[in-house]
Symmetry: D4
Subunit: 157 residues, 8 copies
C-alpha cells in the first residue's frame, strides 16, 4: 500500500522482489489522511482475505503504516519515503517512533527500504512456509555471489 | 484531545488559558493507534456537537492530530510533545509535515505549544465572536505589561 | 504575504487553491527584516480592512509569520520554505517554535504547506461561512475520488 | 539479545510483554564488536534450535541487529537504545538504514521500542499460531479499555 | 536585551564580562513577539542615545536579534539560548540564518555565547577606543595564563 | 579570507557588496589546516597593516574563522559554507560554537552569509566612519524600495 | 575495502593518494551484511598477510568498518559514504559511534574522507617507515604551495 | 591533550586504559583558541620528543585535534566531547569533517571515544611493537570474557 501515486517508482522495487521470491501480492494506493475510510477498510479486511503481511510506504508525516497497524493484528512493515524537502528524516521518525502497543517494522528510507520490505515479508511468511525460506537462502547466495564476482573484477585496480 | 495520560501536565496549560479566555472546552484522552475507533468517533462527531476547533497533543510518532484532521472539516491544531528520547523532533515532524489536502496547524513543541494552541483556537473563534477578540486583546496587553514591569525591575542590573 | 519574490512559484500554490475554493485574497511581498515598517503596516491594518486570515511564507530564519502575528489579533498561518542550504529545517523551526502568547499555525515545509495554508484558511473561514465548508467537503471528496481512481488503475501491477 | 548489560532495564520490558503473551524466550548478552564469534554462533544456530524470531537491542553505532541478520534467515527485530550523548539518533540510523538484502525490522528508540519488539514478534508468530493472535487481540482490547477508563476519569477536568 | 526574564541567569554572564572590560551597558527585557513596539522603540532609538552595539539573547524561534537588526544600523550580536525542548538548535537557526541585507552576528548557544557577546562587543568598540583593545589583550593574556597554570597542575596525572 | 579556491564564487558576493559600499578590501586564500603558518601570519599582522575587520569563509570542519580569531584582537566574521555532503550543518556548528574568550561573529550558511559579512563589516566600521553609515542607510533604502516595487508588480496576481 | 561497487568512484580517491605516496594496497569489495564470512575472512587474515592498516568505506547503516575492526587487531580506518537519502549522517554515526573496546578511526563523509584515509594510513605506517614520513612531508609542502600559488593568483580580485 | 580542564573526568578514561596497556603518556591542557601558540608548540615539538601519537579531546567547535594535526606529521586522534547544549553533535562534526590533506582519526562522542582513543593509539604503536599487540589481544579477550560471564549470569531471566 502506498500513500501517493508519485511513490510508485520506489514501491515497484518491493513488487519486483516479491515476484522473484514467488510471493503473490496486491499493490494499491490509499492515503491515511485523504482516504481514511479506505485505509481502515483495507487494513481491517486484510486478515479475513488471507493476507499475511501488509507493507505500507509513505513520505513526509508518514502516518500510513501506523494507521494500518492500528486496524489489524497482521504484521505491518513501514517504508519511509524521501519525498519532502526534509529528505526522509520526517517520514522515518513518523513511521518508526510508534507508541507501545502498535508496532510498525520500519525499513530504511527509500529504495533500500522498499526492497527490504519484500524480503522481510518473505522472512515472516517463511515461518510457516519452508519453500519461501529456500528461496530466500537462494536469493542471499545469489546476492553474495554477485558481490564476490564484482570483488574479483576489482583485482588489480 | 491528548494521546496519553502522561501528557496531562502539559495539556493542562491549554485548559488554563481557555478558561482565562472564557472559552468552554472538553478535555479527553484518545490514542490514534490504540483506540482508533474512538478517535474517529470523536473527530467525526465533533462538528455536529457544536465544537468549533479541535486541539490534539501527542508525542513520538504523533499521528493524533493528523488522524483527527482526516475525519473532520473543523480546524485542527496540533501540539507536538517532548516525550521520547528524540526530544520532540519526532513529534514535531510527524505533526507538521502533513500532505496536501489535510492541514494541521502546528504549534511549538511542549508547554509553549500547549499554551499557544488555546490562544490560536481563540483567534479562530474570534472570527465570529468579537467578545473573544476583546479578551485576546486584553490578554495580550496584560502579557506585554508584565514584561514591561519585569523590564523596569531590571534597571540597574 | 511572502518574504522574497523568489518564493513566488511556491506561494502561487496557495493562490490556486484559494481560487478553487472561491475565496478572495491579496498576494503581496514584504520582508520582515528589510521592510519591517511595511510588514507592520500590513499586519496591523489587516483586521480593519476586513481580512480574516493572514498567510505568511518565508525561508531561512523565517521571522515573517511571527512578526506579522505580533502585530495583529487575526489568525496567522506560517509556511516555512526550503530556500537555504539547510533545506527548510531552519525555516520550520523559526516559524513553529513561537513563544507562549503569539501563536503561528505552522504548515509543512514547501509546496505541501503552501497548499495546506489555503485549505486551513478556508477551514477557519468556514466557522462562519457554511458555504466554504460545503466547498471544502466537495474538495475533499474530489481528492479522495482521484486517489481511488488511481488505486483502481494500479490493479494488476 | 542485548549489546551491553547496562541495557538490561530497558530490555526487560520486552521480556515482560512476551511473558504476558505466553511466549517463551531466552535473554542473552552479546556484543557485535567485542564478541563477534558469539553473536555469529547465536545467530546462525538460532533457526536450528527452533527459535522463531530474534530481537536485538543496542545503542550508539548499533550494529548488533544487522550483524545478527547477516547470519540468519530468521526475522530480526532491532531496538535502538538511547545510551550515548546523541540520544538514540545514532542507534536508530545504525539499525534502520540497512542495505538491500538484509532487513532489520526497526522499532522506536528506547522503552517504547522494547515493548513493541515483543508485540511484533508475537504478530509474526501469530501467522502460524492462532492462539497468539487471540492473546494479541485480548491485549489490544485491554490496552484500549484502560485508555477509555482514563479518558472517563478526565471528564470535568 | 533579553527575550524573557527566565534568560537572566545566562545573560548576566554578558554583564559580568562587560563590567570586567570597563564597558558601560544597559540590561533590559523586551519580547519581539509580545512587545514588538517596545523592541522597535529600543532598537530605533539606540543609535541616537549613543549606544554602540546591541546584544540580543533569545530562545526557541529566536527572532529578537533579527527584529532589532531590522530597526537599527548599529551592529547587532545575537545569542541563541537553550530554553526549549529542542535544546538550542531552534534558536541557533532562527538567529543565524538571516536573509541578505540584515546581518546578525551570531554567537554560540547558551553561556559560552553570552560571554562571547560581551567580548565581541568590546572588539567592535576597540576599533575606535584603543583603551578597550588594551583591556581585551590583558583579558586574553589572563585567560591564557590560567589555562597554562591548570596545565602545569596536571603534570604527573 | 577563504579556505579553498572552490569557495570563490560564493565569497565574491562579499567583495561585490564591499565595493558597492566603497570599502577597500583584500581577498586571499589560506587554509587553517594546510597552511596554518600563513593563516597565523595573516591574522597576527592584520591589525598592524591597518585592517579593521577580518572575514573568514570555510566549509566542512570550518576552523578558519576560529583559528584567525585566536591570533588577532580584530573582530572576525565567519561565513560557514555549504561544501560537504552534510550541507553546511558541519561548517555552521564548527564556526559558531566557539568557546568563551574567542568569539566569531557567525553569518548564515552560504551566499546569504557571504553578503551579510560585508554588511556587518561595514556596520562595525561605521562605528568610527559616519560616511559608511550613510552608505549603509542608502543601501537599506534601496533594498527596501526594490522589494516594494516587486510587491507593487504582484498586485492582481 | 568498500561495501558496494557503487562506491568505487569515491574509494578510488584513496587509491590515487596511496599510489602517490608509494604505498602498495589491495582494493576489494565485501559487504558486512551480504557477505559476512568474506568480511570476517579478509579481516582476520589481514595481519598474517602483512597488511598494516585496513580502510573500510561504506554508506547508510555503515557497519563495515566496525565489523572489520571486531575481527582484527590492525588499525581500521572508516570512511562514511553519502549514498542514502539521509546524505551521510547515517553512515557517519554508524561508523564513528563505536562502543568502548573496538575503535574505528573515522574520516570525513565522502571524497574528503576517502583522501584522508590514505593519508592517515600513511601517517600510521610512517611510525616505522621514515621514508613514508618524508613523502608525507613533501606531499604537505606541495599542497601548501599550491594553495599559496592560488592565493597569489587571487591578488587584485 | 584536552581543551578545557572541565573535560578532565572524561579524558582520564584515556589515561586509565593507556596505563592498563603499559603505554606511557603525558596529559596536558591547551586551548586551540585561547592558547594557540602553546598548542602549536606542543604539536610541532611532539615528534622530536619521541611522541608516537597525539590524542586531542575537545567540545563545542572542537578545533583542537584539527589544529594539532595541522602542525605535526604524527597521527592525531580526536575525541569529540559532549560539553555544549548541542550535546556533542557540534564537536563531532567539527572534529571529523576535516578537509583533504589533514586527517583526524575521530572516535565516538564522550567516554566511549575517550576509551577508544587509548586503544587506537595502542593499535598504531602495535605496528612496530609486538608487545603492545599482545597486550591488546589480552585486553580484548578479557573484555569478551567479562561479557560472556555477564551473559551466563543472565540465564533464566
Amino acid at each position: 500500500m502506498m500513500g501517493s501515486d508519485s511513490d510508485l517508482s520506489v514501491v515497484e522495487e518491493t513488487g519486483k522482489i516479491l515476484k522473484e521470491l514467488g510471493i503473490s501480492y496486491e499493490m494499491t494506493l490509499a492515503s491515511a489522511h485523504r482516504t481514511p475510510e479506505l485505509v481502515q477498510k483495507l487494513a481491517s479486511e486484510a486478515e479475513g482475505k488471507g493476507i499475511e503481511v501488509i507493507i505500507a510506504a509513505a513520505g513526509a508525516a508518514a502516518h500510513l503504516a501506523g494507521v494500518v497497524a492500528s486496524h489489524t493484528i497482521l504484521p505491518v512493515i513501514g517504508v519511509p519515503l524521501n519525498s519532502s524537502p526534509l529528505q526522509g528524516l520526517d517520514s522515518l521518525l513518523s513511521t518508526v517512533q510508534m507508541p507501545p502497543g502498535i508496532p510498525v517494522a520500519t525499513m530504511a528510507v527509500g529504495k533500500a527500504g522498499a526492497k527490504n520490505a519484500a524480503i522481510f515479508a518473505a522472512q515472516i511468511m517463511g515461518r510457516k512456509d519452508k519453500g519461501i525460506v529456500k528461496k530466500l537462502v537462494a536469493y542471499r547466495k545469489r546476492t553474495a555471489l554477485e558481490i564476490k564476482k564484482k570483488a574479483d573484477s576489482m583485482k588489480g585496480l
